[in-house]
Symmetry: C2
Subunit: 449 residues, 2 copies
C-alpha cells in the first residue's frame, strides 16, 4: 500500500500501481472517445504565474539548483500546484497553433507543500478536462464537460473495471447566486459567497451569524441566503419552483437558473447506480474566476475527503490583453480518490506481475528453448516470463504461485504441456495456438481488506 | 513543436504529444509482455540519497516551500535526476513485500539543472527496466534485459508504429576490461577506464597521452589499452579472437569475455534492419557501480546525441547492510530520442484530435440528436465530437478539415449520412453499425518536415 516514509508522497506497490494505471487508462479512453486531445505541460512554472492567486502561495514548492547563488535563493521557478495555471499559460503560448474550441485532457502530477492527511498529499495526480474558446464559448460546452466527466466516473465505478464507490456530482451556477444576492440587495455578493462556501464545515446557524456580520445583511436576508443554499434536487422543475418560491427576482438570477436547469435536463439520462448529478445551491467554489456553472463531487462513503472532482466555467481562463479565452473545465483528484480507496478496501490487482504464464526451465541448457516458447506466446500478446532458475518443477510452480501467475508451461521432447496451478489441471498445448482464458490474460482488480 | 520559452523544459503540441504517448504505450506493452511490473516513485528524494554520487550533485534541484524558514534554505528534499536512485531506495523500503527476482519498468520524468542542448533537457522522460535479485542474480538476466530493450526499440523503429531511426546497442563488460588491465599490470584500472571513456569525445592519440600520464602506464601499455578499446564486432568468434590476439591473460578477463560472448550469441537472432547489437570494447560507462555487462546505444543519424539508452549490471544496486540486492538494468532516454526526431523530421500525428468523426448539428434544437449519434458511435469505440455551432454545413466541414477529422456525420429525417471529406464520398449510414476504416479510427503517425 501507500508508503508514508516521506509524509505526503504516497508510493504504491506493483499490485496497487496497476489499479491506478487502470484508472488512468480508463480516463484517457473516456476523454479521447469524446475528442479530447492529451497534452502534458512541464512540471514547473515561473513564480509570477504561480503566485498570481495569493491564497495558494504558501503551498508552492520553489526550485533551487544546489550551487545556485541567486540573491533570492531560488531559480525563479516552482512546481505547479494544479493543471489549470499551466494550461492557461500553454493556451496563450500556443494560441496560434491550436484550433478553437480546444478540448484537452491532462493527467499529471502536481505538488503542494501543505499538511498531509487522508486524500490530501504533497504529490498527487490530477485528471483535468477543459474546453477553451477564443472570445466566446457556447453554454452547451458546460453540458459537455459535465457529461464527459460523469461518464468517465461511471466507468471507474463500474464493478467490471475498478468498482470504485459511487459519485455524486453537485452543480450550481454563480450567476444564479450573484443574481439572487443582487436581487436581495446584498452589498458584497463575493464576500457573502465566500461565507456560504463554509457550509460544509460550519453549521448553518454559524454561517448565518457570519453573514449578518457583513455590512448591509440583516437576519432576514441571511435567512433567504441560507434558504437558497439549502436547495438540493436533481429535478429541474423542483429546483425552479424552490428558487422562485423565495420571491427574489433579477435578470442574472434568471440567466443562471436557466443554465442550471438546462444542465440538469441535459444530464438526466446519465443517472445510474454509480453516478448522480444534482443541483446543490450551497456550492459556490471559493475561487474568484468562476463565472457560471460550478461543480463539486462527493464519493459515496468518503464524504470526509470533501470534493474529489471540481471545476466550472471561467469567462476568462486566459487573456493576452487583446484576446480572451473563456473556458469550462473539471478536475478529478485521482490520488485523492485512489489512495484512500486502496487503503480502506484493499483494492489491488489479482497478481503483482503482468505475466499470465511462467515458462518452466528444465535445465540451463534448455533455457533458450523456454525463451522461444515465451517469445511465441508474446507474439500473440500473452504476457509471460521464463523461470529464473532450473530448480525442481515443484519449486518453479511455487515461484509462480507466490506471484499469482496462473499457468506454468513445461516443454519436453514428447510435446509441451501447460498446467493451471490453481486447479492442477494439465493439458497438452502448443505455444503457437494456446491462449489463457480471457480473465487470466491480464490481472483482474480485486478487493481484499 | 517543442516550446523553448523556458529553456530545457520542452512542451509538445497535441499532434506531437500523441507521438510521445504512442511511444510510451509501446514501451509499456513491450515491458509488460515480458513480465515487468510498472511502478512509479515519488518525484522527490531526500538530499542524502541524491548526493551520494558527487558527480551529479551540481545538477540537483532542491525544493523549498515559499514560506519555509529552515536554516539551510531548503526542505531537505530534491527532484530525482534519474530513476535508479529512487528505485534502489524503493527496493530497500519494500523488500519485505516484493518477490525476487523483481522485474520492474518505470516510465517517468526526471530533472537536472544542467545546460540545455539538443537531446539534453532539464525535464525529461526516462523509460527504465531493471531486474533485481536478493543476494544473487544469475547472468542470464543480463541477456534478458538486453533482449527486452532491443525488442522494445525495434517496435519503436517499426515504420508501422513510429518509424524512429535504427538503434545500435553497444555492449561491453567491466570484468573483461578490469581483468585485461589487471593482466597488463595497470595500477589503477578505475582511473584508466575513466580516461578510455572519453574516446567518443577525444581522438585516440589524446586519450593515449592521458593514459601515459597515469602512474605505472607506459606507451606500450597505453597502446594495448587502446587496441582493446578498438575492438568492435557483432560476431562472438571475432571478438574472442581479437581479444586473445592481444596476448593478455587474467581470470577476470576470461569471465568477462565469456559473459560478453554469451550475451552476443544469445542476442544474435534479434538483429534486423532496425536494431543491432555489437560488442564495442571502448564502452566503459563512467559510473563506478557497474560491475559486469555495460550498455550504450546510438540512434542512426543522431550520433551527436551520444548514448540514448544505457545501463548495465551492478552487483550492489542496493544494500541495507545485511542483504545485498544485485541488479541489471537499462534506461532509455525517451525525451532525448523523441524531441530531436520530432524537431528534425516533423514526426507527428495525422490529426491533432482523437476524433475520427465530426457529428454535424443542423440547428441548436437538434443538438441532443447529434449527441445521441455521437454516443452511439462511442459505444463501439469510435472517437468523435459534435460540432460546436449549428453553422452552415460547409463551415462545419471546414471545421473538421482544419482538424484533420476525416468524416462528417449528418442526421436527417430521411436517414443519416456520413461523408468522407477527403474524397467527398457520402453514403447512408447508421450510428449503430457504421465504422470508419481501421486506419482512420485513430490518428496515424506521419512525418512532414
Amino acid at each position: 500500500m501507500a508508503r508514508t516514509s516521506l509524509s505526503g508522497f504516497p508510493e504504491l506497490l506493483p499490485e496497487t500501481r496497476m489499479v491506478e494505471q487502470r484508472a488512468i487508462d480508463s480516463l484517457r479512453r473516456s476523454f479521447e472517445l469524446h475528442g479530447f486531445a492529451g497534452i502534458e505541460t512541464r512540471a514547473v512554472e515561473p513564480l509570477d504565474q504561480l503566485l498570481r492567486k495569493g491564497e495558494t502561495s504558501k503551498e508552492v514548492y520553489l526550485l533551487r539548483r544546489l550551487h545556485e547563488e541567486s540573491v533570492e535563493g531560488h531559480s525563479g521557478i516552482g512546481l505547479h500546484f494544479d493543471l489549470t495555471v499551466p494550461f492557461a499559460r500553454y493556451v496563450l503560448e500556443n494560441a496560434g497553433k491550436l484550433s478553437f474550441p480546444f478540448r484537452r485532457y491532462q493527467i499529471q502530477k502536481a505538488w503542494r507543500g501543505e499538511r498531509p492527511q487522508e486524500g490530501r498529499y504533497r504529490e498527487f495526480t490530477q485528471a483535468d478536462i477543459d474546453i477553451v474558446g477564443r472570445d466566446a464559448l457556447p453554454f452547451h460546452h458546460d453540458v459537455e464537460v459535465t457529461r464527459v466527466m460523469a461518464q468517465a466516473m461511471a466507468r471507474l465505478a463500474d464493478p467490471a473495471l475498478l468498482g470504485l464507490p459511487g459519485f455524486r456530482i453537485q452543480v450550481n451556477n454563480r450567476k444564479l447566486i450573484q443574481g439572487f444576492y443582487a436581487g436581495l440587495g446584498v452589498p458584497d455578493p463575493e464576500e457573502a459567497m465566500r461565507i456560504v462556501d463554509k457550509l460544509d464545515k460550519l453549521p448553518a446557524e454559524k454561517v448565518g451569524e457570519l453573514l449578518t456580520e457583513l455590512e448591509g445583511i440583516d437576519a432576514a436576508m441571511a435567512d433567504r441566503i441560507l434558504e437558497l443554499a439549502g436547495i438540493r434536487s436533481a429535478e429541474p422543475a423542483e429546483v425552479a419552483r424552490a428558487v422562485r418560491d423565495l420571491g427574489v427576482t433579477h435578470e442574472l438570477l434568471d440567466t443562471g437558473l436557466e443554465e442550471l436547469l438546462a444542465l440538469l435536463s441535459a444530464c438526466a439520462d446519465l443517472h445510474d447506480e454509480h453516478v448522480s448529478i444534482e443541483a446543490d445551491l450551497s456550492i459556490a467554489r471559493g475561487l474568484d474566476y468562476y463565472t457560471g456553472t460550478v461543480f463539486e463531487t462527493r464519493m459515496t462513503g468518503y464524504e470526509s475527503l470533501g470534493s474529489i472532482c471540481s471545476g466550472g466555467r471561467y469567462d476568462a481562463l486566459a487573456t493576452d490583453g487583446k484576446t480572451t479565452y473563456p473556458g469550462v473545465g473539471i478536475s478529478l483528484g485521482l490520488s485523492r480518490v485512489i489512495v484512500p480507496v486502496i487503503a480502506r478496501t484493499g483494492l489491488r490487482a489479482s497478481r503483482p506481475v503482468p505475466s499470465a504464464v511462467l515458462v518452466a526451465v528444465a535445465d540451463e541448457e534448455s533455457r533458450a528453448a523456454s525463451e522461444a516458447v515465451a517469445a511465441a506466446l508474446r507474439t500473440r500478446d500473452i504476457p509471460c516470463e521464463v523461470a529464473p532458475t532450473a530448480a525442481k518443477f515443484g519449486k518453479q510452480i511455487r515461484y509462480a504461485d507466490r506471484r499469482g501467475i496462473p499457468f506454468v508451461w513445461f516443454s519436453g521432447d514428447e510435446g509441451d504441456q501447460v498446467k493451471d496451478i490453481r486447479s492442477g489441471e494439465q493439458v497438452a498445448a502448443e505455444a503457437a495456438t494456446w491462449a489463457p482464458p480471457r480473465d487470466d490474460l491480464v490481472p483482474q482488480v480485486v478487493s481484499e481488506p
